[in-house]
């Protein structure tokens, strides 16, 4: 049961949030220029790392804002949360 710091509301119980998978995947600006492989890779393929993971969370039972988190998928430790648009923080794990 995680405790997650919403960048706006502060530390809250995991049950107030929803996780929406890997962060920092940018939608291609010109999908037509992509090969099927590249498009498929954008839509379906994920890093799914064992260890540090950058991911998106939504404070669904709170301010309904989306933000990013850096979390270790083995220890479930949340290193940091940060607002969307902010570059991913360097984490030493």
């Amino acid at each position: 049961m995680l405790l997650i710091e919403c960048p706006w509301c502060g530390l809250r119980d995991q049950t107030e949030f929803h996780c929406h998978g890997e962060a920092h995947i940018t939608r291609p600006l010109d999908p037509d220029s992509l090969s099927d492989e590249e498009w498929g890779s954008y839509v379906f393929f994920r890093n799914n790392p064992k260890g540090l993971h950058y991911e998106r969370w939504e404070h669904s039972h709170g301010c309904r804002r989306w933000f990013n988190a850096a979390r270790d998928t083995v220890t479930d430790h949340v290193y940091a949360t940060y607002k969307p648009g902010v570059a991913k923080p360097e984490i030493e794990s």
Binding site: M1, L3, V43, W66, H77
Partner: protein, 1002 residues
């Protein structure tokens, strides 16, 4: 019956309160303060159940939650509960319990035949047999099933209620023995928010059974003093009868409080039976103590054999002397406390000490008291006959302790107490992902490094600190440190110092004791695990067969998998394995500790979330009218929607046919409030719509509506709806009922994470609006009686919206249609929903207005070939598959999902496509979900071309109609295919366009 084994004095009992209870239909008496186990022992009852596998008679083995044996069926009928530990069930007036896993009785049990053939039933025997003949396995299985299991599930509905609550604290202390009490005191004094939790009915932990002095006074006086001080602290919460069952990440701790179950089923107080605490603590102090470790000798599972500390607990805390002639067998000093206390209580006591030349102050005292000590000896046989322990055989041990020597001598006794030292209770620490470390000298695991998110401290015997003064000191330090770490000022003080220290000599590392035949090869059994009947020989067999990994061992022998989760047995299993493999214990490893610490009732986990609170029922503003008018409801998501409105005992079919006819004949009305609604504002609103819908939105004029399809990035349809331009930068979007939250989430996801610079805001307004939709040729006339607005095609064209008062209520009226007939969707603020509906019903009387439900709504749309997302689509369907190319803009540029259209599989021309089907027999309605085949074969498998997504008897078309997703469907229009029915028959169908009703105005 008299309590023959009750001491005259002593114990924390209310002797003035005699309680009557029944065990296996026999009446007994005990006192308030007893557990079922202590009361049974007071009455000389040891035999309480039969074991899991061999049906061996079993007795009361412990005095706490670690009990592996004494599991009873508590109460009967609706209040019954299987597998309750007699050692934890507090006695109440009228309690009734019975033994389990035996028939006809615990004394004479047919299942005990298993014990006779036990040689055929070693660990994992079932993997090796019952394979021939293959067909008979299911028969064998029935017998195996009957033999397994323990107690019986209730078969009636639970009459009790359960509570659940969240809690937060600075310092949570688990365990209220000397260490925990000290921790609470020191953390509490700092002003921190403290919770102190113990599973026992009273605080004190092992002190309740101890005869030690603290600060010169008996321990229980000190306990009382501490509790009194804690009571004065406003920020300290004390919970007894509360088991911490789980330790999760970020100091999230779950505890189960047994609120009033100790009062029995006929509680006068009312209130919940149990309460689940969900606690977030900044710091968690674990002071969970230790569990005594058994010695395993030949037939050491017999009733009348119990842990030494349990004996002490029964003597001191419950005022019961469970035997008159007691033999105590030990490999350590601490058990001598039990011998001394039992002796002082009047028992004849002898000690068998497996050590050579044991010495120490406790032994000196014992000898002084005249307690005989058999040194370097063991129990080589147990004499248990006709339900009673009658004596044992004692033999000398060989030098290495692996064999016996000499001749056995008989010792008469009616109770054997065993002690193999102590195992720290590290379950919670380990559940909390803390790493354990093994202490070679103490032969046990203790807490090592904590998980990064589970901050806190440990204190007392849960970290193998055995001396009372040390436990007290550690508790103080842990409490103070935890408070400081949580931001409070605190230091440990030296109170409770003047405590007498017992000095313990070393133990002998010997737990599996030999007998006159090799362990596992003879008639006597060495059970290291009582609950699942797992023996030392089973471990050896497992190792021999290659199940050497401790996790394999556990699963192969089922050791530690019972209701006690091996609290008393796990370390002995590890030890045996380490000897067999000849590797140190840490290399053997441990199995994983998992929640719950003790079994946790489903009722408690569920708490309030049951019955009407299981999942909310959402109702529209018009619901009271539906209720009054006999609506039958359909569950759509968590909404209750009218399905149809039967009149005078009509069948569903008749009602729906009537509703469909009426709606097209004159006027129908449906409650459309549940549709999702989203208010979209901002200069980039159109840009957003252009991205999320397949069609173009740049030119939609204010007041105009447009239908749209939404795709995911795979290019598949996932929602649809009409969106209206309210003003240049302001739109009102509608979604499907079930898709409302998903669509809102979809928009927010893109806006917040991908296009944050876009100037557009979305606000959910689903429940802001109640919606009555009137349809049919007279819909306009009807509406005009309630408003002053011109409603002709010119002033109010199809696919437009206007705001005006309807029945005096400010409304947004949409002229859009899901029936193909003239339809007005009237949206009013929810508070007016019911009034609007009633006004419409009243005004509609002259047009025979007919309220209809979702089923008629579905038929009316199907008649016109309109799709329902989620019914005619299933997440694998593109707009092109639906024949809706017209809605896919070729010119506006990119939109979500578009790129996926050009993948090789999406461009196939023979994809499944939406078509209409007409049955050969117009009165035959295809069941939804049946599949279309080219030609029926006489038996499966058959190549399926697609399935029927929607199918109805349409009164307006005058025949049955159906829609289907059909492979290469567009090219098959006009052809005749077959539909295969569940009974093996088939029906011919013709593939058509899915628009069945050509009439209709919109």
């Amino acid at each position: 019956m008299s309590q023959d084994y009750r001491r005259d004095k002593g114990g924390q009992l209310n002797r003035s309160k005699t309680l009557r209870f029944w065990y296996d239909n026999k009446g007994y008496e005990g006192y308030q303060g007893d557990t079922l186990a202590s009361a049974l022992l007071a009455n000389g009852v040891h035999l309480v159940g039969r074991s899991f596998k061999y049906h061996r008679p079993r007795g009361i083995y412990s005095a706490g939650s670690e009990e592996p044996n004494a599991l009873v069926q508590l109460e009967s009928g609706a209040h019954t509960e299987p597998n309750r530990r007699a050692t934890e069930v507090e006695l109440y007036e009228g309690l009734s319990a019975s033994s389990q896993n035996c028939w006809p009785s615990v004394g004479f049990d047919i299942g005990a035949i298993n014990s006779k053939i036990s040689r055929l039933l070693p660990a994992g025997f079932y993997y090796k047999t019952f394979m021939w003949p293959g067909a008979l396995w299911t028969t064998y299985e029935k017998f195996i099933r009957k033999a397994a299991g323990l107690g019986k599930s209730p078969t009636e509905i639970d009459p009790d209620s359960y509570d659940k609550i969240h809690a937060h604290c600075d310092v949570l202390i688990v365990g209220a023995g000397p260490a925990g009490l000290q921790a609470a005191l020191h953390a509490g004094r700092s002003g921190a928010r403290v919770m102190l939790i113990d599973e026992k009915p009273m605080f004190g932990g092992s002190l309740l059974a101890d005869s030690a002095l603290i600060d010169g006074a008996p321990a229980d006086q000190w306990v009382t003093k501490v509790i009194n001080e804690l009571k004065q602290m406003r920020e300290v919460t004390r919970l007894t009868r509360t088991t911490v069952t789980g330790y999760y990440d970020y100091n999230f701790v779950v505890a189960n409080e047994r609120v009033n179950e100790h009062l029995g089923p006929n509680r006068k107080a009312g209130g919940p039976k149990e309460r689940l605490w969900k606690i977030r603590a900044r710091q968690v102090v674990l002071a969970t103590g230790a569990i005594e470790r058994p010695l395993v000798f030949a037939d050491s599972d017999r009733p009348g054999i119990m842990l030494a500390h349990a004996l002490r607990t029964y003597v001191n805390h419950y005022g019961v002397l469970p035997g008159n002639r007691i033999v105590l067998i030990t490999n350590n000093d601490s058990a001598y406390h039990s011998a001394l206390d039992a002796h002082a209580a009047g028992a004849m006591v002898e000690v068998i000490d497996v050590r050579r030349n044991p010495s120490g102050s406790l032994l000196d005292t014992a000898r002084e008291q005249g307690i005989h000590i058999h040194e370097n000896s063991t129990i080589s046989a147990v004499d248990y006959r006709r339900g009673k322990l009658r004596g044992i055989e004692v033999m000398q041990l060989s030098d290495d302790g692996k064999a016996v020597r000499g001749v056995p001598s008989d010792l008469r006794c009616d109770l054997v107490a065993v002690s193999g030292g102590w195992t720290p209770t590290v379950h919670l620490f380990s559940q909390g992902k803390g790493k354990l470390k093994f202490l070679d000298d103490e032969h046990c695991y203790v807490p090592g490094e904590r998980a990064v998110n589970n901050k806190g401290f440990e204190a007392g015997s849960c970290k193998a600190t055995w001396s009372l003064p040390e436990c007290l000191k550690e508790g103080a330090i842990a409490g103070a440190s935890a408070a400081s770490a949580a931001g409070f000022e605190s230091t440990a003080t030296e109170d409770a110092s003047g405590t007498e220290e017992s000095v313990y000599g070393p133990a002998r590392a010997l737990w599996i004791l030999p007998t006159d035949h090799p362990v596992g090869r003879g008639p006597k059994k060495h059970f290291h695990e009582l609950h699942n009947d797992s023996t030392v020989a089973d471990i050896a067999l497992a190792a021999r067969e290659g199940f050497v990994s401790i996790e394999h061992l556990k699963r192969y022998t089922t050791t530690g998998m019972g209701t006690d989760q091996g609290k008393t047995s796990n370390l002995n299993a590890l030890t045996v394995m380490s000897e067999i493999r000849d590797v140190p214990i840490p290399e053997v490893g441990t199995t994983t500790f998992r929640p719950p610490f003790t079994p946790l009732s489903f009722g408690s986990i569920v708490g309030h979330d049951r019955r009407e609170l299981f999942v909310q029922k959402r109702k529209t503003a018009i619901h009271p009218w539906h209720d009054r008018n006999n609506a039958v409801y359909e569950d759509v998501g968590d909404w209750k929607r009218p399905y149809y409105f039967p009149q005078h005992g009509e069948s569903m079919h008749d009602a729906v046919q009537r509703e469909c006819l009426a709606a097209r004949a004159s006027a129908g009305i449906v409650d459309a409030s549940t549709l999702g609604k989203i208010d979209i504002q901002g200069p980039d609103a159109r840009r957003l719509l252009n991205m999320v819908y397949t069609n173009a939105w740049s030119k939609l004029a204010p007041g105009r509506c447009r239908y749209g399809l939404m795709l995911n990035e795979h290019g598949m349809v996932f929602d649809d709806g009409v969106t209206t331009c309210l003003a240049e930068n302001h739109f009102h979007m509608t979604t499907t009922t079930g898709g409302a939250a998903r669509v809102m989430g979809w928009l927010e996801e893109w806006l917040q994470t991908e296009w944050p610079q876009w100037q557009v805001y979305c606000t959910s307004v689903t429940e802001q609006w109640a919606v009555a939709s009137i349809t049919g040729p007279n819909a306009g006339k009807l509406l005009s009686t309630l408003c002053d607005q011109p409603l002709d095609d010119e002033s109010f064209p199809f696919m437009s919206m206007q705001s005006f008062n309807v029945a005096g209520i400010p409304a947004r009226v949409f002229r859009i249609s899901f029936t193909g007939d003239l339809t007005f969707e009237i949206n009013v603020p929810a508070r007016y929903g019911l009034a609007l509906w009633e006004a419409l019903m009243k005004a509609g009387r002259q047009y025979d207005i007919c309220p209809y439900g979702t089923e008629a709504m579905h038929i009316l749309r199907a008649e016109k070939g309109f799709i329902i997302v989620g019914q005619d689509t299933d997440g694998t369907v593109t707009p092109l598959d639906l024949g809706m190319d017209w809605i896919v803009s070729k010119t506006k540029g990119d939109f979500l999902g578009r790129r996926s259209f050009t993948r090789s599989d999406t461009t196939r021309s023979d994809r499944k496509q939406l078509v209409g089907l007409l049955t050969e027999d117009p009165s035959f309605v295809l069941p939804e979900g049946v599949h279309v085949v080219e030609k029926l074969k006489d038996k499966p498998p058959m190549t399926m071309l697609g399935h029927v997504t929607s199918s109805y008897m349409s009164p307006n078309v005058g025949r049955s109609i159906a829609m289907a997703l059909l492979k290469d469907g567009f090219n098959r229009k006009g052809s005749t295919l077959e539909v295969s029915l569940m009974d093996g028959s088939s029906h011919k169908v013709t593939v058509t366009d899915p628009v069945f009703l050509k009439s209709g105005s919109e």
